[in-house]
Amino acid sequence: MKFKFNPDDLKSLVKKSFSSDNINKRRQSMKFFWKNLPEQIRRLSVVAVILFALPLVVRQLLIPTDFGKYGHYRASALDEIVSQEIHYAGRELCNECHDDVVEVKYNGYHKTLTCEVCHGPAFAHTEDDAIELEAPRKRSYCPTCHEYLPSRPSGFPQIISARHNSRKACIKCHDPHDPKPPETPRECKACHAEISYTKAVSKHVDIPCTRCHQTPEEHKIRPREVLPSKPHNREFCGSCHALDAESSEDIPRIDLFEHERRYNCWQCHYPHLPEAN
């Protein structure tokens, strides 16, 4: 038999099934339908429904209610992260009660240091000044920053602690809040340790730094504001190395007009450690 679809049938069917006196009938027929299904289909369908519903329920239980509120994550995670305790107070808070120290430090060499780098996390102290802070008075403390390390950038003041006034605590001679060296450093080595130690083992060992860099005394006090000069042409090196230079006989000579004219000397020779193959 061929099934033929007639829209009018459907219309009347819908009309019928929604009319109230038919609902009871339908219930009956559903029951009838269910009863008449084969046993195994009935059981299987129950299992199927459970299998379908279970993941939905589990999903509902597992995914927190606020998941996906802002994005693919739990919104309350942010509140938890943000509520983490603060340990470092920041540099402004100390002003209130220690304006004397802050004032001293303000223009000193340690002006870029925050108080807490030496005194440790101080948030609790700002809330309750009965909680005491440590002051690092030991000699072994300062070299963490100031011990000579070849990897440190040029210009950073460094010492070799074994040789630098090794008997006394650093704070005997340097106020930690304004660590002026008691006298201006005599040598460039104080802040250009790596260059100085490099030059010390080079052929240029006997040339003083100031022969090549005219250095105003101010540079040692305000190093970044007042910079020394640097050689800027080949003739400068030529003043010792040119064939006709009036300099010591031992100095190796080159023909200034022949020897690699295109470049400045220090594009090939590092002036603090000149090498010639």
């Binding site: 927190p64 998941f67 509120k69 802002y70 994005g71 693919h72 994550y73 739990r74 995670a77 942010l78 509140d79 938890e80 992260i81 943000v82 509520s83 983490q84 305790e85 603060i86 340990h87 470092y88 920041g90 540099r91 340690h110 870029t112 240091l113 925050t114 807490e116 780098v117 440790g120 996390p121 070299p143 963490t144 920053c145 011990e147 000579y148 390390l149 070849p150 990897s151 440190r152 950038p153 950073f156 070799i160």
Partner: protein
């Protein structure tokens, strides 16, 4: 001429038909539009702490290699601020020392993350190989704009906030370590007790209160700069204008938001 309207159409005029379609479309989409708008409003008024609106910020960090003295105070402060386990394998930020030898070899070390700085003043040159360059490189989570760690998380426990910070939901993390594997910068670790993934948060709890991250606060030479990426008058933008900027592993297309100045090409 034949009328275009077919005979058995139910008499509905074209205009009416279109009207109906429009009305029903509008009716169908109103709830969706309304709820979306509400969600958007909720987002835009999402204020954590005092007056902090994450949609008004976008954070990044600048690091100037030429300024780093390798004191390691940043690594130390990070552990203290964030209660990171003391054992020497867990770091949210650390400092590496690079030494590049004449032979072309590169040697990198970071004793205990440099928490106590680098003390040994002289290096024993290995087989008389001379060091030709040496410097310190502070490392930290790059808070990538395109974070591989977030992509691999199976449960949505790690995510990027609207202000560009990559965070971990410690309560929701299942400790599967996918993200630790996925991070090309080694910036994540598994917390030994909680057994969940951990990483730098840019000190989010400080940032929302107007403070800078602990490592930035503590840095004695202003090697680290923290600030807005998308605002013109920010120390970070100025830093990025002034210096030639490099990022770590640019070829991975993770778009890191930690910007290095004077970055040596040996650094990975």
């Amino acid at each position: 001429m034949k009328k275009w309207q077919s005979e058995n159409a139910n008499g509905m005029k074209r205009r009416k038909f279109i009207k109906n379609i429009l009305f029903s479309l509008a009716a169908l989409t109103t709830p969706a539009v309304l709820s979306a708008q509400e969600a958007l409003k909720k987002l835009q008024t999402w204020i954590i702490g005092e007056d902090y609106n994450p949609f008004e910020h976008y954070w990044g960090m600048g690091i100037d290699i030429n300024k780093c003295i390798g004191c390691g105070k940043c690594a130390d402060a990070c552990k203290k601020e964030n209660d990171v386990p003391k054992a020497p394998f867990f770091f949210r930020t650390w400092v590496e020392r690079y030494r590049i030898f004449k032979s072309g070899k590169t040697f990198v070390d970071s004793p205990n993350g440099a928490i106590n700085g680098f003390r040994k003043p002289y290096y024993e040159s290995e087989d008389k190989d001379k060091v030709i360059r040496s410097f310190f490189v502070p490392k930290i989570c790059n808070h990538c704009d395109n974070p591989p760690c977030v992509q691999v998380c199976p449960v949505g426990a790690t995510f990027k906030t609207p202000d560009g910070v990559v965070l971990v939901d410690g309560d929701y993390c299942i400790g599967c370590r996918y993200c630790i594997q996925a991070c090309p910068y080694g910036a994540r670790f598994l917390h030994p007790e909680k057994r969940t993934a951990e990483k730098c948060t840019f000190c989010y709890h400080r940032v929302v209160k107007g403070l800078v991250p602990a490592c930035v606060e503590i840095c004695p030479t202003q090697t680290r700069i923290f600030g807005e990426i998308k605002k013109k008058a920010s120390p970070l933008m100025r830093f990025m204008r002034k210096h030639k900027i490099g990022v770590l592993k640019p070829s991975l297309n993770t778009e890191p938001k930690v910007y290095y100045a004077n970055l040596d090409m040996e650094v990975r």
